[in-house]
Structures are given as C-alpha cells and as structure tokens.
Symmetry: C2
DNA sequence: GCTGCCCATTAGCTTATGTTAAAGCGGTCG
DNA sequence: CGACCGCTTTAACATAAGCTAATGGGCAGC
C-alpha cells in the first residue's frame, strides 16, 4: 500500500522535507501520516487560508500547490513576504500568539493537512524528533525571511530576481518538484513583482534582461535555469541559509 | 534583596518582556533567574557574538545594550536584518540548526546571559510556561522580520525610517527603556542606513525631512518623537505585528 | 467568430535614491 | 595645541526604478 513517504502518497513532499530536517523513524512517519490523513483539505487559487488579524488554532502542512504570505499597506501596496511551497508548513506554533500578522493565500490549487492545535501538541509531546523537525521548519522559515530582507534591502533588481529564482529552485529540489533544470513557477509577474518589491513593469524588464543574458528561460509558467551556478553568481547567492540540516 | 524582576535586578528587562509574553509565576521567574545568573557575560561595541557560519550551542538573553543581526554580500554591501534590544533573545532554539545564517554584533556595551543548550533544554522541559514564552519570543521575532520585508519592499524612504523609529520605540517601551516620548538610539546613521536599505546620504536627507516636518528630534543619540500618532500615520504603522500577547 | 479579460510586454517620461566628493564638527590622542 | 578620526551634513550629478499608457496574445464565454 502506501509506503511511508517514499512513493506517491499524498504527503510525499512533506515526508521528504521533514526527512531532510530530521531523519524520521517509521514510527515518527506513521504518527505524522496519521495526523495528516485526519485533516485533508483543499483550496483554490486566490482563496485565503488565513487573513491578517485571525486567530489560529491549527497547523497546516502543504501537500501540493503554492501559497504565499503577504501583507498590505492601507493604501493597497502589497508585499509578498514569502512563498509556501509543497512540503512546507504554515505557522507551526503560531497558535501561541493571539492573532496573526499576515495573510496566507493560495496561488494555485492547494492540498493541505489541517492539524488541530490539541492534536499537534499531543504529537509534539509524544515524539521528540517530530517536535524538533517542526521547530527546524520554523527556524528555517525565519532564515529565509532574513535572506529576503537583505534581498530587498541590498540587491539590485537583476540580482534580486535572480536570487529569488535560485531560492525557489533550491527549495523545490529536496521535495522532488524540479525536473532537470526546470521547475514550475505558477505565479503571475505581478506576484513576482510583489515578492521582489519591484513594480510589474520593472520586474518584466528585469526578466527580459535575465532572458537576454541567457541565464533563464521562462515560458508557460515554467522556469528553466540554463546554468544554475552562473545564476547563483549573478545573484550573489549564498547557500548557507537554506541548508537542510542533517546533523544535530 | 533582588525582587524577581520588579526592581533593578540585572535581568529586569528580560522579566518585563517575558511577562508580557506569558505571565510568569514566582517559580518560573526564579528558575529563569537562576539560569541567567549562572552565565553572565559582557561584550563591547563592535564585538561579534556570533559570526555567520558558526555553530551555536547556547541561547543568549540581552540584559542591557543593543545588538544587531546582519548579513553581508560578497562585495561588502551590508544589511542589518534586525536589532536586538534589551530583554530580547538571540536565537532561542537556533542550536537545532547546524550553522547560523547571519552574524550578531554588539552596537553598544552589552550585558547578556549565556545559557548552554543542555541547561536551556532542562529549563524548557521542566517549565511549560517558560517554554511557551521562549517560543513566543521566536515567533515574535519572525513577525518583526516579516514587517521589515514589507518595510524594505514597499515603503518609501520617509515612511521607512519613520516606521523603524516607531517600531524601536514600541519595542523599548515594554521593557522600560523609554522616557516620556524619548528613547536612546545608540547607533550611527550608517547603521540606520544599513537597517533601512538606504545609502547613508539618503538616510541623512530623510532624517532631515523628518526633523523638518516636526515629527522627531534626533540629537546626541537620543530620539524624541514629538507626536507618536502622527509618526505612525506617516509610517503607515500597523500595531498588530508587535502586539505582546497576554491571551493564549 | 466576436468580445472581453487577464496577463505580458514595450515605450516615454518622471522621480526617488544612489554616488562621489567635500566640508563641518566634536572628540581624543600624542 | 594641533592633527587625526569617526560621524554628520551638504551639494552636484548620475541612474535605477517607478508611473502611465498603449499594444498584443491567449483563452473563456456568449
């Protein structure tokens, strides 16, 4: 039947990712899988999973599809502060806070598992490895957030977009969502603009530049990175922050 | 003698902050205070507490002084990704990751407590409230990081600097480090520029503008906010993300 | 097969911010 | 006391990125 996380089970991406954070025993895997299968849900593109100001009472794991976290200023300026990719977690532990400071919206059709707080806390209490893996998930998401700060603060548009593409590729790779040197990029240029702090027009100009320099091909929502090392150089990409942590 | 956290004990700021996150019982307070007093240390301005790539094996609590987290690109461009203010924590739980993705440097003379991992884990295991408070500390720091992303991505220089000043003021307030409508701002304009993603020259221009508009006085490393509400309006400051969380 | 809509693209112009350089302004060290 | 040093401030100029507007392409619905 469903081998734990090794074949096409619905939660394959989650298991791959967690195993990169902390090697999971069969028992860990089974416990997590149980919790996941109890709360399977779906959302369509544009649907909000969480709106700024909401209270949260569960933890969600993305099984497939893309979402993004975003914040909006009074006058409508929007910033995407992160993408949430298959295998990643929305706000583990965030139920500890009174309300959430940002919104989460599906960019594509999404399948996710909703684990209620009580259930989640049982799982954490009963299983040290899983607790550590979820903690790493939270820490890693912070590390990404910090990298976005330097991306927005100190990289020029060309480097910035190049960096985003490198990061997305490297985040999709461990969950098996890349195919050779290509991956899906199922978001509009407006979304990419809001993620990089650029205007749509300038984002488009920048993408044309990236194309012209032969670093990428972007067509039909598929990103192909012709030469990843070259793209990383152009982006001044530092691999450290994304490292998946085998060792304790 | 030293009343727990209410008088001038060295860890006053820490206790004030933790109490805002989770009300601490006398027992909680005593346990935390013990751990703090075992590992008191100091650092001078410019001293690195952690350098990108280090392994971490302890948790540090800032008792007094300012530090900043920063990352630097190959070519020297530097971005301060956050300040660490009195009462705040450097990287609780970060020992779970293999290496750290950024550096932490003292901006002023700093007094801090260094709690070794093993000790910290004992404390967490023995004391649920403290564990939750440390978790909130981590989550709150993520929320701040997200706000910095929108600050850098979508606010213009004037709003951006105004926002930083509002945030710093609101972070210093609960630990008793503001005096009326003034607080210390013990960093150079170069640091502020690196925190806001601006050039020093433009940061200076922006500060002149803020002065000219009567919103702030900045002199001798002291920031005075003439009208906090007006400054918040100018910054499109949204208070939600910093809320200190009484309620579960 | 036309209409409308969303998204990508391009052009022309405006502006915020960066860059370089120089001067002012305390401190402090010798 | 004078020279240096780190920091702030100002000026003049350069440029990356924003804004507005128009066009084009693909796709869905009528």
């Amino acid at each position: 039947m469903r081998a734990h996380g090794t074949d096409g089970g619905v939660a394959q991406a989650v298991f791959r990712r967690f195993n990169a954070l902390r090697p999971l025993s069969d028992e860990d895997t089974a416990a997590l899988e149980h919790a996941i299968l109890e709360g399977l849900l779906r959302a369509g593109p544009g649907e909000d999973l969480i709106t700024e100001g909401d209270r949260i009472d569960s933890v969600r794991l993305v099984l497939s599809g893309w979402l993004f976290r975003h914040k909006t200023l009074e006058d409508g300026r929007r910033q995407i502060v992160n993408f949430i990719l298959p295998g990643e977690t929305c706000d583990s532990h965030a139920y500890l806070l009174s309300t959430i400071d940002h919104s989460i919206t599906a960019a594509t059709p999404v399948a996710y598992a909703d684990i209620k707080r009580v259930r989640f806390e049982q799982l954490m209490a009963a299983n040290r490895t899983l607790a550590e893996a979820f903690m790493c998930e939270t820490l890693l998401s912070s590390a990404i957030q910090r990298e976005w700060v330097i991306n927005l603060g100190r990289r020029a548009a060309f480097e910035r977009v190049a960096h985003l593409f490198c990061e997305i590729f490297e985040r999709l790779r461990p969950v098996g969502m890349v195919d050779g040197n290509s991956c899906a990029l199922p978001v509009t240029q407006m979304d990419l603009a809001d993620a990089t702090g650029l205007s749509v027009v300038h984002l488009n100009r920048t993408i044309q530049e990236l194309r012209a320099s032969g670093l990428i091909v972007l067509k039909d929502r598929t990103l192909t990175i012709s030469d990843l090392e070259a793209l990383k150089n152009a982006a001044m990409y530092s691999p450290n922050y994304l490292q998946l942590y085998r060792a304790k």
